[in-house]
Amino acid sequence: MTATTLPEGNPELRALLRQVDKGRHRKDRVMKGLIYAAFVVAMLPLISVSWTVIVNGIERFNAYFLTHSMRGVFGGMDAGGIYHAIIGTLEITLAATLISVPIGLLTAIYLVEYGRGSLARAVTFFVDVMTGIPSIVAGLFAYALFAVLLGPGVRMGIVGAVALSVLMIPVVVRSCEEMLRLVPNELREAALALGVPRWLVVIKVVLRTSIAGIGTGITLAIARIIGETAPLLITVGVIDSINFNLFEGRMMTLPVYVYRQYSQGLVPCTPGDLACIPTINYDRAWAAALTLILIVMLLNLVGRLITRFFAPKNLG
C-alpha cells in the first residue's frame, strides 16, 4: 500500500501529524516580531547618524577642504580645511597600531599557546581590567608618563599614540585570542607530529591559519581608537598648522578638530559682510566627521579584502 492508492492515508496518523500547536505558533510569531523590531531599532540610529553626517558634511567636503590646514584662518572666512588633522589622525593611529599589535598579538599567543596556571590567569584578569579603563584615564596616564620623562607640559603625537595603545592593546589581545583559539588543535598536533618545533608551529600554522581573523580583529581595534577624542585633547593638544613630526610639538587630529570647531560655535558676522559665513565652524565640524567615518569605512574595506585574500580556501 502506498500513499498514491490511499490519498487520505491512515486517518489517525493524519490527525496526529496535523495537530497544530497553537501556542508554539503564537510564540513563533511574537518572537519573530520582537527580533525584527530589535533589528530596526538597532539600525535606526546608524542610518540616522550616517544621514545627518552626510547631509551636513557634504557641503564643505571637497578637495580644498581635504588639502588645506587651518593656518591663518579666522572668523567666518570661507577657507580652512582638515589636511593637518588627517595627517595627525593617520600618523597617531598608525603609531598606536605599531605599538599595540606586537604587544597584543604576542600576549594572545602567550595566553593561547603557552600560558598555564596563575600567570596566564593574572594576564587575562589585567587585560579585562584594561578593557574597562576610561579613555580620559588612558590620556592622563600617557601625559603623566611623558611628563615624568620629559618634564611637564609636553605635548606631542607619540604621547597620544601611547595613550591610544593603552586602549587598543586589550582589544587586540581579546580578538587575537579568540581567533587563535579557533585554530583546530588537530592542526597543531599534525605539525608537531611532523617534527616541527613549537615556535614554528605557532608562526607557520597557527598564525597563518588565523591571519584573516587577526586582520579583522586589528581593523576593529583601529576603528575603536581612531575616533578617540579626550586622551588626544590632553596629550596631543590643538594646532592650526601642519605638523608631520610625531616626536615634536602639537598635532591636530580629526576628532579633536570636530570638537574644537563645534565648540567655537557661530561666528558673529558684521551685517552686510558677505564673505563671512556664520555657520562655518559647524560646517567644518560636520565635514570633518564625515571624513572620519569615511576613513573608518575605508579601513574596514581594506580589512575585508585582507580577510578574503588570506582566508583558508576550502574548495578551489
Binding site: A190, A191, L192, A193, L194, G195, L200, N314
Partner: protein, 259 residues
C-alpha cells in the same frame, strides 16, 4: 630504515591520574602491530607516547622507557622534536593544513621547518610520497589546489603522504579509518600492507576485522573499571590472538562477549 621499539615498565599519566599502567612490549620492525581494546583503555594514549606527542598535553608525562633500537626516546639528552621526525603519525580525523595546497601539504614537514629544498627535489618528494600513499594518480593534475578540497579518504592518504615525506622510521596510525567509508578504508588498508615493507607500523583500531586483516601482531588493552588505569592484557601474533588467545578477557572481547 624501519626499527624495532621496546617498551619497558611504561606508566603514562595525565597530571596525577595514571591512564596506562605497566606496559611491556616489543614492536617488531617492518611489520604491522595493531592495538585493540575498548574505548578509554589507553591505546591512543600509549600510541602517542611512542613519538612523544603525549607530553604536548599540559600535565601529561610518563615513567619507564621506550627504546628505539636500544636508544631510550625519553632519555634526558633526547629532543622530542627529533623523535617526532623519526616517528611519524597519522591521526583519526584527516587534518590537512587548510591554508596549503596538496603539494604544500606533502612538503609541510620540510617547509614548516624552514628547510630549503630545490624545486626539482620538491617535485620528486611530492611525487614519491603521493605515489607511496596511492594518491598520485588521483591528484597529479591538481597539486596546487587546496588539500581540504579532497574527499575524506583522499585527505587521509594525503596525511599519510605528508607523514612519509619526512622519511620516518616508524609510522603510528591512530584509528586512521574510523572517519572513512569502506572503500577508502580498503584503500588505506592496502596502503598499510605496502608500507610495511619499508616502515614499522603501529595502528590503533576499533575494527577487529581490520586488525585481523592488516596486522602481523595484535596487542589487546583493557581496563578493569572506569578510573582504573588501562593495561596491556596480551600481545601475540594476530593469528594466535584471534584463534586461541591465552587470556579469557581477550577472547571475550574479540567474540563480542564483554561488559
Amino acid at each position: 630504515m624501519a626499527q624495532r621499539i621496546d617498551v619497558k615498565d611504561l606508566n603514562i599519566f595525565y597530571g596525577d591520574f595514571r591512564a596506562v599502567a605497566d606496559v611491556e612490549m616489543a614492536v617488531e620492525p617492518r611489520s604491522v602491530t595493531a592495538f585493540i581494546g575498548p574505548s578509554g583503555c589507553g591505546k591512543s594514549t600509549f600510541l602517542r607516547t611512542l613519538n612523544r606527542m603525549h607530553e604536548v598535553i599540559p600535565g601529561a608525562h610518563v615513567q619507564g622507557s621506550v627504546a628505539m633500537d636500544g636508544v631510550d626516546l625519553y632519555g634526558s639528552d633526547i629532543d622530542p622534536v627529533a623523535v617526532r621526525r623519526q616517528v611519524g603519525m597519522v591521526f583519526q580525523r584527516p587534518n590537512p593544513f587548510p591554508t596549503m595546497s596538496i603539494a604544500e601539504n606533502v612538503l609541510a614537514g620540510i617547509k614548516l621547518n624552514n628547510k630549503r629544498i630545490s624545486k626539482g627535489d620538491a617535485q620528486d618528494v611530492v611525487e614519491a610520497s603521493l605515489r607511496g600513499a596511492n594518491l598520485w594518480n588521483e591528484v597529479k593534475d591538481r597539486l596546487n589546489r587546496p588539500g581540504s578540497g579532497l574527499s575524506g579518504g583522499q585527505q587521509q592518504r594525503l596525511c599519510i603522504a605528508r607523514a612519509i615525506a619526512v622519511k620516518p622510521q616508524v609510522l603510528l596510525m591512530d584509528e586512521p579509518c574510523s572517519a572513512l567509508d569502506p572503500i577508502s578504508t580498503l584503500a588505506i588498508e592496502d596502503l598499510i600492507a605496502e608500507l610495511k615493507s619499508d616502515y614499522t607500523i603501529v595502528i590503533v583500531t576499533h575494527n577487529m576485522q581490520q586488525a585481523a586483516r592488516v596486522s602481523d601482531r595484535t596487542a589487546f588493552f583493557n581496563l578493569a573499571a572506569t578510573g582504573e588505569p588501562g593495561r596491556l592484557v596480551e600481545i601475540d601474533d594476530t593469528a594466535t590472538i584471534f584463534s586461541s588467545p591465552r587470556v579469557q578477557a581477550t577472547e571475550d572481547y574479540i567474540s563480542g562477549r564483554f561488559g
